[in-house]
């Protein structure tokens, strides 16, 4: 009998097969994504969406979790990578694994909750058990398999990479190192964490999840869009003005010294600091508990701007393609559901080593934009999606900034004003690159010979063969 690992190396039914799925799309991509134009179907087409779930959410690094969410051995969070549920687990040895939440027997999802702590993962259907590192630990009636030890029943895994506590995963067979993929975005990510006292950032357990009836890339078009702040968020700015406060969004986009930069691989950053001379905290109006918390900090002797600024964001909107967007103290993770449906996960980051007033304030700060800002973004995304239903209006102009203010450096990275659409063109170039060709992927697994359970089974079965 042929066992899975004795099959030919190019046999696609091998459990460690490297497979590049789907058609070559180069010609179609060249038609849809041009230097200054973008085709509407990029937001509406089901076939492109299905391909995105493989090539973008799987074929390249995607953000999965932050290490502060799984501090102890056995801690796990369940995250989405396209259509796949991934368990980000801390093993007994402190390693981080990305296990596919799918029993290797029939495919049952092992874990029904979003987070928890486990000693092992046991499938409720037939009792298969897996160690925290994904190795099979036990299954019922093992002797009912011939050469069980040659069957690859260890859990499927994704490759894991880390930077500054942020955990990324991919199914790409041969991914570039995370640091290379982050490239110029890496130091910005380091900077984001560096402002936290003792360099410690903590992601809160509770997230807010909201969805909009639009394509997930709307979040990307919006992330570095400095013009929409003035118009879409006019009502947020009005609330600020009514309390004599200039919100960060209330700056004239034609005159502000804020800059946007493309950082390679679709990443980008909008640095708002040059436009906020009085620092981040100056952009916030009165908020629930603010008076008490400021009074408390002053009573403790804190007068430095730095402490108060820590209560809100760093005024650097960093976006790491395809699913990690930093705005304020929030980590926004867009999760595609359908071509015209997207969930956005809003995680809140905290400063556990700062005075407690800082985190108490952070809680109330981020509810503010979620109430008075985010709804307007979602409203615009949904109305764009409605407008994109017009078959005959095929093209969207994405040329703003090109030849009109954008400065390109020797690495091809672009610095522009906040009016520039260079960040949009840059992520679309990365999207096009990923979508054009089938990307070789593979499911990783623990090595069979390392499984103690399998060793025991092997010895037992060999002994049995000898005696018979």
């Amino acid at each position: 009998m042929t066992t899975p690992l004795s099959k030919a190396p190019d046999d696609p039914t091998r459990p460690d097969a490297v497979i590049a799925r789907g058609p070559d799309m180069t010609d179609r991509m060249n038609h849809l994504v041009r230097d200054e134009l973008l085709h509407r179907s990029v937001y509406t087409d089901q076939e492109l969406f299905d391909l995105e779930m493989q090539r973008v959410f799987g074929g390249t690094w995607v953000f999965l979790a932050h290490e502060s969410e799984i501090p102890e051995a056995g801690d796990y969070v369940r995250r989405q990578m396209g259509k796949r549920q991934i368990l980000i687990v801390r093993t007994e040895h402190g390693e981080i694994k990305g296990l596919i939440n799918r029993c290797t027997h029939r495919g049952t999802t092992l874990v029904p909750s979003e987070a928890g702590c486990a000693k092992r993962f046991v499938c409720p259907y037939h009792g298969w058990a897996f160690d925290l590192d994904g190795r099979i630990a036990n299954l019922p009636v093992p002797d009912s398999y011939d050469k069980l030890y040659e069957r690859p029943f260890d859990l499927g895994q994704v490759a894991i990479g880390e930077r500054a506590g942020f955990i990324f995963g991919t199914l790409a067979a041969d991914p570039i190192p995370v640091d290379d993929w982050l490239g110029a975005a890496g130091p910005w990510l380091d900077l984001h964490v560096a402002r936290y006292p003792k360099g410690k950032m903590k992601v809160q357990r509770r997230k807010v999840v909201q969805e909009f009836a639009g394509n997930w890339k709307m979040s990307w078009d919006n992330a570095a869009d400095g013009i929409h702040a003035t118009f879409a968020h006019a009502s947020y700015n009005t609330l600020g003005k009514s309390a004599d406060t200039d919100t960060v969004l209330a700056r004239n986009p034609a005159a502000t010294p804020m800059v946007s930069k493309t950082l390679g691989h679709g990443h980008c950053v909008v640095d708002q600091r040059p436009g906020i001379p009085d620092g981040p905290w100056s952009t916030m109006r009165p908020l629930p508990t603010r008076d008490d918390l400021e009074e408390s900090l002053r009573e403790k002797g804190h007068e430095a701007q730095e402490m108060f600024d820590l209560m809100t964001g760093d005024m650097i909107n960093l976006s790491i393609f395809p699913n990690l967007i930093f705005v304020g103290n929030q980590i926004m993770v867009p999760e595609p559901v359908a071509p015209d449906r997207t969930k956005v996960n809003f995680y809140l980051s905290m400063a556990p080593e700062a005075e407690e007033e800082v985190d108490l304030m952070r809680l109330r700060v981020d509810e503010d934009f979620l109430s008075f800002g985010t709804p307007d973004d979602f409203e615009m995304f949904e109305r764009v999606q409605e407008g994109l239903r017009v078959d005959e209006e095929e093209w969207i102009d994405i040329s703003r900034g090109a030849g009109a203010g954008d400065v390109v450096d020797e690495d091809g990275l672009v610095t522009g004003t906040v009016a520039s659409e260079a960040p949009m063109r840059a992520y679309l170039a990365e999207w096009k690159r990923l979508m054009s060709k089938p990307i070789p992927t593979k499911v990783r697994r623990a090595r069979l010979e390392d499984s103690r359970f399998m060793q025991i089974i092997k010895k037992r079965q060999m002994k049995k063969e000898k005696t018979s």
Binding site: V208, P288, T289, L363
Partner: protein, 192 residues
């Protein structure tokens, strides 16, 4: 200057904690409170009904007249959350509540105007208890919101605290438990 933590709690930060703890205590109280008295239920039921009706009618001036200056409004993501530990969908004081009302009438608040939302709040059986320092009331609530796109239907439970004010009552706090927040909802910019 160091920005790391010192251990002493000031009176100001204690005030914040006390307010938050009181919100959680009310919520927990309603979970296992003994049978309520009919007479008090009958007294409180019109208050909850009027609050819902005024909100549906967008009669926010009359609605705000029902609120105490100390009013707190909390919409936790999960019923086990604590306002000192978890981000909520909403945690408003009286000031932010009036901003919310003003926002509803800002013609540039694109997500909550044009068309103006139509809402119905359906209140179920009202139970109320006089706990000495205040009256705590709870009722199941169903909300329908219609504006643009698909109608939003939510079911939950509201927990209110009230104080006597002459012949009537003032609402001192409201907590809205909406189980669907644990999964995913459209934006709820219209919720109040």
């Amino acid at each position: 200057m160091a920005v790391t933590a010192s251990s002493e709690k000031t009176a100001a930060v204690q005030r914040v904690h006390d307010r938050y703890d009181a919100m959680v205590r009310r919520l927990i109280f309603t979970r296992t409170a003994s049978l309520s008295e009919q007479a008090l239920n009958a007294e409180i039921e019109p208050v909850l009904a009027a609050e819902a009706r005024l909100l549906d009618a967008r009669a926010f001036e009359q609605w705000q007249a029902m609120l105490s200056d100390e009013m707190q409004f909390w919409v936790p993501v999960h019923p086990d959350d604590h306002p000192a530990k978890d981000q909520a969908l909403i945690y408003d004081d009286r000031r932010r509540l009036s901003e919310r009302v003003a926002h509803f009438f800002d013609p540039q608040a694109w997500a909550v105007v044009a068309p103006d939302p139509l809402t119905i709040r359906q209140i179920g059986a009202v139970e109320a208890w006089d706990v000495g320092t205040e009256i705590i009331a709870t009722a199941p609530i169903a909300l329908l919101h219609v504006r643009r796109g698909a109608p939003v239907k939510l079911t939950g439970r509201e927990i209110l605290s009230l104080e006597r004010n002459g012949a009537g009552f003032l609402i001192t706090s409201k907590t809205l438990i909406l189980p669907e927040l644990a999964l995913s909802t459209p934006h709820l910019g219209w919720i109040i």
